[in-house]
């Protein structure tokens, strides 16, 4: 049977992708960020996941204002890399796992989650930056990836509670897939940042760390944080952190923290990442 063996939460700031692509991971600015991922890269080499369900959001790269799916899953064989205005990132194409993706999609729909299905889908930095952070610059990504896209741009975005619940349903779906697969789930985006308006540049180290503490907890209080709290405390773009709750919901009640890291700043953003396993 397939099993979700671990969950990763990570920022997906585009500038990190630029740093990797231009070989700046060790310079004074990026060094402290990338050193925080050294542990995780070594751990991923040992874990060798077969598939990653990668929860991310598209940043008006492949999706435009014509279609705004709240939850969408990529069921294709492979996914291209978006040109985000300066040419596609020089990273390998992303290979999907259509059997498991369709299995998850069908299971979620039966479980009352009204999914949008993508067959053709190009993925942007929201998905490729976490892959670079965890796997470096391989010629081919070492695992298959199921893109799971969430609308966190146009309000109302899904509630934390709904994100947690869909995470639980993903866990249930994966565990009913007959093939033996080592599956990880990653929740990406955040942490605190605001990219617009006179309040641009807001960061909140204290709140971000409280959020990480809540993810580590046995209780599920974190799922009930209202949108207005994310907006006030973590900037208008900090709301991306609801995507981490999909990962956390898929971990089950108790978790063990394997690694945790936080750094300010990367461009406009607070960088955080956490590695959890079901306990």
């Amino acid at each position: 049977m397939a099993k979700i063996t671990a969950g990763v939460g990570s920022s997906h700031v585009p500038l990190l992708g630029v740093a990797v692509d231009q070989g700046k991971e060790k310079d004074d600015y990026f060094g402290p960020i990338f050193r925080g991922y050294d542990w995780t890269r070594e751990w991923e080499k040992a874990e060798k996941p077969d598939v990653v369900v990668l929860v991310y959001n598209d940043h008006a790269s492949y999706f435009d204002m014509n279609i705004v799916p709240t939850f969408a899953i990529g069921c294709g064989e492979r996914f291209g890399i978006c040109d985000e205005g300066w040419g596609p990132r020089p990273v390998p194409e992303v290979e999907g796992h259509p059997d498991l993706a369709w299995h998850i999609a069908q299971s979620l729909i039966l479980d009352d989650f009204d999914m949008t299905i993508f067959n053709k889908l190009d993925v942007d930095h929201g998905l490729t930056v976490p892959l670079s952070m965890m796997f470096g610059q391989p010629e081919k990504w070492p695992c298959k990836v199921i893109p799971f896209a969430v609308n966190v741009v146009t309000y109302p975005v899904p509630s934390g509670n709904r994100c947690w619940a869909i995470g639980e349903a993903i866990k249930k779906a994966v565990e009913s897939f007959p093939e033996d697969l080592n599956v990880q789930i990653w929740g990406t985006g955040g942490m605190s940042h605001q990219l617009q308006g006179p309040r641009a540049g807001l960061l909140n180290r204290e709140w971000d760390n409280k959020f990480l503490d809540m993810l580590e907890s046995d209780n599920d209080d974190v799922r009930h944080i209202p949108h207005i709290e994310y907006l006030r405390e973590t900037g208008s773009e900090g709301i991306e952190m609801v995507m981490w709750l999909i990962m956390r919901g898929a971990m089950g009640k108790k978790v063990k923290t394997l690694h945790r890291h936080y750094h300010i700043p990367c461009s406009n953003t607070a960088i955080g990442h956490i590695v959890l396993e079901p306990a």
């Binding site: 585009p14 500038l15 940043h59 008006a60 790269s61 435009d64 204002m65 040109d83 985000e84 205005g85 300066w86 741009v153 146009t154 309000y155 109302p156 509670n161 605190s192 605001q194 990219l195 617009q196 308006g197 006179p198 309040r199 641009a200 540049g201 807001l202 960061l203 909140n204 180290r205 709140w207 209080d221 009930h224 944080i225 209202p226 949108h227 207005i228 907006l231 006030r232 405390e233 208008s236 300010i264 700043p265 461009s267 406009n268 607070a270």
Partner: protein, 148 residues
Amino acid sequence: MAENPIQNIHEYLAEFDDIPGTLVYTAARARKGYWINQFAMSMMKPENRERFKKDERAYLDEWDISEEGKQALLRRDYNALLKLGGNVYYLSKLFSADGIPFAEACSTMTDMTWPEYRQMMLDGGRKPEGNRSIRENLAAAAAAKGSN
């Protein structure tokens, strides 16, 4: 924290207006700014960028955008564009077409110069204190005035 509070959409949206210096991208703004954002998306194609750079006004005239919106785009007045329903992830395609870093474009929406903004970020970013609620800020200002 209340579990599953019953959310009335009017109350939910009204709270967004209390956040200082922030315009949340609501459905109303998404509707208003639809063509501004779709124009911005068109900047992802090199041939469109080329045509835009050659004659910005002529290119904008191909879109169903208000005169106010076109003027704001020509001026790169991003705060005005947010008010007209632009969204920063869409507008960022114009930052790229102009060849300026995302953070530099962000700085133009604040009261800081780009070097000042960059330094603020290096120093740990803008603090949440005093930036959470317009209502709270007004109450605090009134209390301070009263105690003088």
